[in-house]
């Protein structure tokens, strides 16, 4: 088994290394890596290098994984080069695995090459240790959001605002969803709080907080208020007054140990101190407005984790490509595999689904009764996209490129989950199907 897969793998790598496409990719990647400049600031350059350069290299190599995957088997079958392999005692599954491994290896190595170049470039660049430091994003306590939803529900129930015919659970679910996805207005003399959880040892580290908001004048105006941090004993450990000059976001620093040696949580409070007569509300988001970071590892480790996550995607793309290549001729395989990837990309995130939902609600508002057909189509496409979302979730959850660019530590548990599902389980399913096709198909060639 090892020898048979090895032979196919070596042939695949060899053919890739001697193909013009891979040579062209190599040159293109050097160009991409060396050609990117920043926006003049250290932070901007760092972000450009990490997200733009790596994002472009990732896009190029993703396309290569997919299309080389398509061509590797399809071209060999079409030209008759596959004959010798097809009549040998090698099971089709080994042929599939060998080809897939070869493509993944080549692309993963090319990505590693880009990352090493980038790392060297960043190391030799004039970045301070602080600029390249990596932080971990602290989690908002989910119970605090649930408690907030419950408070809102109780308040609405007391005021008799809950319409009849809807169960309490449904209303609570709607309030919770709204809290997670929408901005709320913090009116003058009103305060709002965010509760954060600390992992063991976090309290001994300095914490950096970023508070983002939308002022009454939008992007051009400041706010009146203050932002403060309270420890578990409700003592204020840091405070920052916000004025006209604070536009969009402010940062707070909590020195190491200020939260208490064994602290497991802390609270961030924003109070709008504008005049209730003349002032207006400030828009904040329960999930996005306050981000809390603690130092965690270095850039090299973060890049390594990003490499694993991106490589997992290459594994999935190569699996789609090789499977399509085992079924169709190269042009057809390239078309079908690209269509599959487009569906995956469209299905990612909730924007499409939300758009559809909004359309349906809007339609209902206008008293346009949906026909059985449109209802069925809506349901089917809803199912498709929710399935695609679920399939892609292990990969999208990591947010590898975004986090790398923002110097936020990539969660190793999420990377592990991503590699398991995206690089092993999903390719295994494609591989089983591709092997079945290779076993059943006829090889017609001149």
């Amino acid at each position: 088994m090892r020898r048979q897969i090895g032979a196919i793998f070596v042939l695949g790598v060899r053919s890739a290394l001697r193909s013009r496409l891979v040579m062209a990719l190599f040159v293109l990647l050097i160009f991409i890596t060396s050609g990117i400049k920043g926006d003049g600031t250290a932070a901007g350059e760092l972000r450009m290098q990490l997200t733009w350069t790596l994002g472009t290299a990732f896009a190029v190599l993703s396309a290569a994984s997919l299309w080389i995957g398509c061509s590797t088997l399809a071209a060999d079958i079409e030209t008759g080069r596959h004959t010798g392999t097809a009549v040998s005692p090698v099971p089709p599954a080994f042929v599939w695995i060998g080809r897939w491994l070869a493509i993944v290896t080549v692309n993963v190595l090319l990505l590693a090459f880009v990352m090493v170049l980038l790392f060297i470039k960043l190391r030799t660049g004039a970045f301070t240790a602080g600029e390249t430091a990596v932080s971990r994003l602290l989690e908002i306590d989910p119970q605090s959001i649930e408690q907030m939803a419950l408070n809102d529900y109780n308040s609405a129930a007391e005021q008799g605002l809950i319409p009849p015919g809807i169960s309490g659970e449904e209303v609570l679910e709607l309030i919770l969803k709204d809290l997670r996805t929408s901005y709320i207005s913090v009116d003058p003399e009103v305060w709002v709080a965010w509760h954060f959880m600390l992992e063991k040892g976090d309290s001994l580290q300095p914490v950096r907080l970023k508070f983002s908001f939308v002022s009454p004048l939008g992007a051009s105006g400041g706010v009146e208020g203050y932002c403060e941090v309270r420890n578990e004993e409700e003592e204020v450990v840091a405070q920052l007054a916000l004025g006209e000059d604070d536009i969009g976001s402010v940062e707070l620093y909590i020195p190491a140990g200020e939260l208490g040696d064994d602290a497991s949580a802390f609270t961030v409070v924003f109070q709008n101190t504008a005049d209730p007569e003349t002032g207006t509300g400030v828009l904040v988001h329960h999930m996005e407005s306050v981000k809390a970071y603690v130092p965690s590892g270095g850039m090299a480790l973060n890049m390594l984790k990003c490499w694993f996550a991106l490589s997992a995607m290459f594994a999935l793309l190569a699996a789609i490509g090789v499977t399509c290549g085992s079924m169709f001729s190269f042009p057809v395989a390239a078309f079908v595999s690209t269509a599959i990837v487009c569906v995956l990309l469209l299905g990612q995130g909730s924007s499409f689904e939300e758009g559809m939902e909004a359309k349906t609600v809007h339609g209902a508002h206008e008293n346009k009764t949906p026909t059985l057909l449109t209802e069925a189509l809506n349901k089917t496409s809803g199912k498709i996209y929710s399935t695609v979302n679920a399939l892609m979730e292990p990969y999208t959850e990591v947010k590898a490129l975004d986090r790398l660019g923002d110097s936020i530590a990539i969660d190793m548990r999420l990377v592990g989950k991503c590699v398991f599902w995206t690089a092993i389980v999903q390719p295994f399913i494609f591989g089983a199907f591709g092997s079945y096709v290779l076993r059943r198909r006829e090889f017609v060639f001149k």
């Binding site: 042939l11 030209t79 010798g84 392999t85 005692p89």
Partner: protein
């Protein structure tokens, strides 16, 4: 001496039919029509026929590359798709398609891997086969630089790499020069002597005649004739006598006696074939070169 065969069939094709269909599954071409034959172990069997007669399609069905529309194929009593069967079969296709950037040695290493041959054994086997096919010197040149004939030699080496019990050769001499053709014929004879079963497909009748024990002649997808060469080619109403030397009087006397009883006599001198003459000249030249 008459060769003896094991009665077990190495290849058995029963009522083999292949219809190629179009995209809508409508029948497009009847390539093989109800063909049945069997090949005994140790036999050199010829599959003859003009272009488009269904030889290659039949071979592909024997190898499991195509599935019969109806009928049945078995190699060594099993389906050709079984791994145990594929380990015993060597195949040289009509056109040798290799990865052009690989050298013959690398190509053979790849196939050795597919047949699970340990690296050390593989290297020995590859050296032997490159020598056998006169490719040792070209063993480390990329296949892209090769002529068709040289690529065929690599194809032959590849077909023999796993020491197969059944060797299927589809037009093995196409593209080869007379020396190459002669070498292939000698190799087939060696394989036959080593009790290997050989299925040879060709439309070059002279080479089939030289090496095959039995043949099937395919015409438009069905069997036109089948049998041993002696059965098929013998002209039962003619007799040929060949003598080293004969005096004119002796010839006249024999001729007279036969014609007296109403027989017709045709006298001629046996001639070499062009191939035999060509090989003799080349050998003489090579001897001269080596003695210089």
């Amino acid at each position: 001496m008459e060769k003896t065969y094991n009665n077990d069939a190495a290849v058995a094709a029963t009522n083999l039919t292949k219809i190629f269909r179009d995209f809508w599954r409508r029948p497009k071409k009847l390539a093989v029509d109800d063909v049945s034959f069997s090949i005994r172990r140790g036999e050199v069997f010829g599959l003859l026929g003009p272009n488009g007669s269904g030889k290659s399609t039949t071979i592909k069905m024997l190898l499991g590359l195509l599935r019969p529309t109806s009928g049945n194929v078995s190699l060594f009593g099993m389906s050709p798709e079984k791994r145990q069967v594929r380990e015993k079969v060597g195949y040289m296709p009509e056109l040798s398609h290799f990865h052009l950037y690989l050298t013959p040695r690398e190509t053979l290493r790849y196939y050795a891997g597919l047949f699970n041959i340990p690296a050390r054994d593989a290297e020995e086997k590859i050296a032997y086969l490159l020598d056998k096919t006169n490719m040792t010197e070209a063993g480390d040149r990329p296949l892209g630089e090769f002529s068709k004939g040289m690529a065929r030699r690599v194809g032959l080496a590849q077909a023999l790499l796993n020491d197969p019990e059944l060797i299927i050769l589809d037009e093995p001499t196409s593209g080869l020069d007379p020396i190459g053709r002669h070498d292939v014929k000698e190799l087939i004879k060696e394989l036959a002597a080593a009790d290997k079963t050989v299925l040879l497909s060709s439309h070059l009748l002279a080479e089939v005649e030289d090496v095959c024990d039995r043949v099937v002649i395919l015409c438009d997808g069905h069997i036109g004739a089948e049998g041993s060469l002696s059965e098929l080619l013998e002209k039962r109403d003619l007799v040929r006598m060949t003598a080293d030397t004969a005096y004119e009087e002796q010839i006249t006397s024999v001729k007279h006696d036969i014609e007296k009883d109403g027989g017709k006599v045709l006298l001629d001198r046996p001639a070499m074939t062009l191939e035999e003459y060509f090989l003799e000249i080349v050998k003489q030249e090579q001897k001269g070169e080596s003695s210089k």
